[in-house]
Structures are given as structure tokens and as C-alpha cells.
């Protein structure tokens, strides 16, 4: 799939060139790349915000480029949380903002209320405490969660999070990641998670696509990807610290596994070496 901004003008930029990607039902897939690699451009095709100039985008069997595609149905199925989602908030009161989507879809009031309650619970905003708060009086982290709840209230099957942990503090970040994991594991949502942070990816996703200059340059499971540190360094990306440690030990002749992603795994491997 290709996408070209400002085509045939002097400012033309080929944002995506020949990108192939597959996401299976119930999977959690990560997209990593630098600023300008094409990540946001790519995910904006997944709910029809952008159309490809060449190639196809097929969501749940529906080819988005066909005539008469029900784009509203697609937008209900595919929830996209953009970067700095708090910028999407516009209603005075939190519950009203979250209710906006379901209301636009013509759902009855009782159903809307249920959806809002569920969505708020999913993001950790207590319904009674937050429903009547002014949206703009919330903290940054709370606003972000309210915006995500607004997308969840449509009960999408596929949830795309575009750099949703950017600007959050560690507590906020680990809380959000935990909730995304829950949505994936307990509610069975298919998740597409865009982030520059390698350590987040290791925890969360089944497979990773790495984008650079509008192309997919690497793809595979986290273990496969992180087993190629030189490639990743060349691309200007890092690997989890513990994985780096393992590779360095291997380079020094120590007999250790290098496909280690977490502190717990590293501890086990190092203890084998140190007999503890």
C-alpha cells in the first residue's frame, strides 16, 4: 500500500511505499519507528481516514476502496486513539464527551449510559466521581483516559493506540499498558499499538512491524526482533536494557540465551551463570 502527500506538487512526500501488513483477530501488533517513518499515516488508513494511492486496505473482509463501503460501520469497528487524545475532548462534562460517539450512532439512552459506565471502568475513571466533572479540570493523565473511554464506548473490535503513552509519567504509563493488556486478554480486542518505546513492546505485543522511511524494514515476534541488535542500532532503535546485557555477555564468550526480554528472565539466565 502506498500513500503520497501533496502528490504532483513541489512539496510531494511519499509517506508510505509498498507497505504490507496483516493483523489477525485477537492479536496485539506493535508498530515501531521514528518520527516521520509513516506510523500515523499507516494507522489512519485503518479506519478510512486516509485512502491509499496504490494498493488496498481490507478490514474484516471489507475492501475500503470499494464503492458504497459503509464507512460509519468501519469507524465503529475500528477505534483509533490519536496522539495526544486529550485534544479530542470538547464537551463540558466528562460523561457527555464519552457518550457522544454512541449517541451519534443513535443508541437508546439506557444503552448509552451502560456503554459510558463500562468505558469509564475500563480506563479507571470511577463513574460516580468523574461523570459530572468538567473535562478541562481533569489532570493530563485523566483527560487522556477520558478520551480513550470515548473511543471504547463505541465498543470497537479493533483498537489502535497511536503513541498513547507519550507524555505520561511512569505510573500513568504502566497503568495504561496494564489496561490495554486487559482489554486485549479479557475483552478479546484486537490491538494495534504504535510506540517508539521498545520496552513497552516487549511486554505487550505478539508481533512487531518496524517502519523506517515509509517502508516495513523488519517484522516478527519481539524475541525475533530483539535477537538482531545490530540491525536495530543501525535503525537508531534500542532494545530493552536486559537484552543488551545478554548480547554483551554473549560477545564476551558467556554461554547465555540472548532472547531475554524482561528483568525476571534476565535474572534466571544470569543466575545460571553465577550459580545462585
Amino acid at each position: 500500500m502506498w500513500h503520497i502527500y501533496l502528490r504532483d506538487t513541489p512539496l510531494e512526500v511519499v509517506a508510505l511505499r509498498g507497505v504490507d501488513m496483516e493483523v489477525y483477530k485477537g492479536e496485539a501488533v506493535g508498530i515501531i519507528g521514528h518520527t516521520g517513518a509513516g506510523k500515523s499515516t499507516l494507522v489512519q488508513h485503518l479506519n478510512g481516514l486516509l485512502r491509499p494511492h496504490k494498493g488496498k486496505v481490507i478490514i474484516d473482509g471489507v475492501d475500503l476502496s470499494q464503492e458504497g463501503v459503509d464507512i460509519r460501520a468501519i469507524r465503529q469497528k475500528v477505534g483509533l486513539v490519536s496522539q495526544y487524545p486529550e485534544r479530542q475532548l470538547f464537551k463540558d462534562y466528562v460523561a457527555d464527551d464519552i457518550a457522544f460517539g454512541p449517541q451519534q450512532f443513535g443508541l437508546p439512552p439506557e444503552e448509552v449510559r451502560e456503554r459510558v459506565k463500562w468505558a469509564m471502568e475500563m480506563v479507571g475513571l470511577d463513574f460516580e466521581r468523574f461523570k459530572d466533572r468538567y473535562t478541562f479540570s481533569l489532570s493530563g493523565g485523566e483527560m487522556r483516559r477520558a478520551a480513550i473511554a470515548g473511543v471504547l464506548a463505541l465498543r470497537p473490535k479493533i483498537l489502535i493506540l497511536d503513541e498513547s503513552t507519550s507524555g505520561l509519567d511512569p505510573r500513568g504509563r504502566s497503568d495504561l499498558l496494564r489496561r490495554i493488556k486487559e482489554l486485549h486478554e479479557k475483552e478479546g480486542l484486537t490491538i494495534i499499538f504504535v510506540s517508539p518505546n521498545m520496552e513497552d513492546m516487549a511486554e505487550l505485543v505478539d508481533r512487531i512491524y518496524i517502519l523506517a522511511d515509509g517502508q516495513v524494514v523488519m517484522s516478527g515476534t519481539p524475541r525475533e526482533i530483539f535477537s538482531q541488535p545490530e540491525e536495530l542500532y543501525r535503525l537508531g532503535l534500542g532494545i530493552p536494557q536486559v537484552t543488551e546485557v545478554m548480547h554483551a555477555l554473549r560477545a564476551r564468550g558467556k554461554n547465555v540465551r540472548v532472547d531475554v526480554l524482561t528483568v525476571v528472565e534476565a535474572e534466571a539466565e544470569v543466575c545460571k551463570l553465577l550459580n545462585c
Binding site: 521514528h34 507524555g167 509519567d169 517508539p196 530493552p240 543488551e244 546485557v245 528483568v263 553465577l274 545462585c276
Partner: protein
């Protein structure tokens, strides 16, 4: 480092909405001295008071109780605000909100122009500032076409062109990707080590504190930990309870130390960890 501290924070309390019926206490008795040439990192969660404290360093906020002295000047003295802000410059989180001109070098010149600095001195300062942050070759570019890390470096150059003695970076890497973050941190380190600028960096990324001279950890308006990075990082239990991001290698060191008493627990980098493991396996 001897002599008068560059910045002295004396029993500072700060309340948001102090006049209202619902004041919010943000700082609850902070005492801190910052020495000239120091590289200090202040860590804490959103809500810990770290940004509120940062804004006291150049009189953006004034204490509700207590005093802040910058080079012996009390920040409450309105007649000294210009001199205080000349001494302590501040860089904020969002690069786009700090850039005002349409050409990089004009943006950097903005500060000195407003100070009434003569034109050839402005030229010298702009060139020097851009050189120091590694953006001299971008001097004629339009800022909005730069990456976030590049924009943040231009913002730093803009502050440096004012020739402050100290720069305060308020979560200046929060919205940057890893590459941008490294660019900014390298520049900041260089400013401190090579130009002798006092640096106060506010952040929630613990791995940015590795190169600091001193780390201060804040929680709910108090300073809860203070000391050189090694000392602070080795307090893993406390840091964990505060839900701060401990670098993976420090967590690993702590866990290994629990199993092997002579394995050091104050490891900060990958290189150190690899060395220690190799030492432990030899012999």
C-alpha cells in the same frame, strides 16, 4: 563546590488557589541548595510538585511561605525579576509552544533582541548558541519542518543566547522519541561539562538521572530522597513504592544482590552490569 549557592530554596510552601476555599498544597516545606555548576535532576510523578518547584527557580511562581534566592536575589522582589530571569532560563515541555519565529536563527535571536543587546553581539550569541546545540547548519530553516528533538534544541539555543548561568529544563524530553531525547540530553550534558552552565532537569525518566551530580526525588510536595545517583537508585524498595521507573539494570542488580550478597546493587548502566557479571564469573 564552595561559596554561596546559586539558588537557595528556604522552607518553601506553595498553595494553588491560595485565596479560594479549596487551596491545593503543592509544596510542603522544601529546603534545597543548588551549587554553581551542578547538574541536578529532580524526579517525581505528575502531582509530586516538581514542576511547581521548577517554576520557583525563575520567579514564575512565588512561594506562599518561605523564600527563594537566586544569586542572593529574593524572587519576591519584583524589581529584580529581569535579573533573576537573566540568571535562570527555562525550557518547557512542548517545543512548538516555545518557538515564535519562522526562521531558526530569528527565533534564537528573539531573547537577546528583547534585552536590547547590540546587533553584532546578537549575531555572535546566536551563532554560538546554535553551535553549542548542534543546529548551526539549520539556522535558515523553518522551525515547523524540524523534528521535535531538533525543535527542542532550538528552544534551548534560544535560552542560551540570553547567556544565563543556569537552565531549568521542565520535562523537556517528555514528548520526544528516544532519538530526540538523546539529542537533548547530550546537549545538556555538554552545556554543563564544557560551558559550566548549572543545569536543573525535571523529569520522570530515571535513566536521565544517571549522569547527574545529585538526584532529588519528590512525592506529594516533599523531597523524599536526595543524593548522588548511585545512592538514590539503590533505594529500589522506596522507588518501587513510589512507582518510579527504575532502569532495568538497576532492578536486575537489586534482585541479584538479594541472592548474592557481594553483588553490588548500585548499578546504573549496561556496561557496569556486564563488567560486574564477568567479574563474578571469573575465579
Amino acid at each position: 563546590m564552595s561559596g554561596e549557592p546559586l539558588i537557595k530554596v528556604e522552607n518553601v510552601h506553595f498553595l494553588y488557589n491560595a485565596e479560594s476555599s479549596n487551596p491545593i498544597p503543592a509544596l510542603k516545606g522544601i529546603n534545597l541548595e543548588i551549587q554553581k555548576g551542578e547538574y541536578l535532576v529532580i524526579i517525581g510523578h505528575n502531582g509530586s510538585g516538581k514542576t511547581t518547584l521548577a517554576k520557583h527557580f525563575n520567579a514564575l511562581l512565588l512561594p506562599t511561605k518561605g523564600d527563594v534566592w537566586v544569586k542572593g536575589m529574593n524572587t519576591k522582589d519584583r524589581s529584580l525579576v529581569r535579573d533573576i530571569r537573566q540568571t535562570v532560563g527555562m525550557v518547557f515541555q512542548i517545543p512548538d509552544n516555545q518557538i515564535v519565529a519562522t526562521i531558526v536563527e530569528e527565533d534564537v535571536a528573539f531573547g537577546p533582541e528583547n534585552l536590547g543587546v547590540p546587533p553584532d553581539e546578537i549575531r555572535r550569541r546566536v551563532d554560538w548558541a546554535l553551535e553549542v546545540v548542534g543546529m548551526l547548519s539549520y539556522r535558515n530553516r523553518a522551525p515547523h519542518l524540524l523534528s521535535a528533538g531538533q525543535k527542542q534544541r532550538v528552544a534551548i539555543a534560544g535560552v542560551m543566547a540570553m547567556k544565563p548561568e543556569c537552565i531549568v529544563l521542565d520535562e523537556s524530553t517528555a514528548y520526544l522519541d528516544p532519538v530526540g531525547r538523546k539529542e537533548v540530553l547530550d546537549v545538556v550534558k555538554k552545556l554543563n561539562k564544557e560551558e559550566g552552565i548549572t543545569v536543573i532537569a525535571i523529569t520522570h525518566f530515571m535513566n536521565e538521572a544517571v549522569d547527574a551530580d545529585r538526584v532529588v526525588v519528590m512525592e506529594q510536595g516533599h523531597i523524599v530522597l536526595e543524593g548522588p545517583p548511585r545512592e538514590v537508585f539503590s533505594q529500589v524498595e522506596t522507588l518501587r513504592a513510589l512507582q518510579l521507573d527504575i532502569p532495568q539494570v538497576t532492578q536486575l542488580a537489586y534482585n541479584l544482590h538479594k541472592r548474592l550478597n557481594d553483588f553490588p546493587k548500585d548499578i546504573l548502566t549496561v556496561e557496569e552490569m556486564v563488567e560486574q557479571i564477568c567479574n563474578a564469573t571469573a575465579g
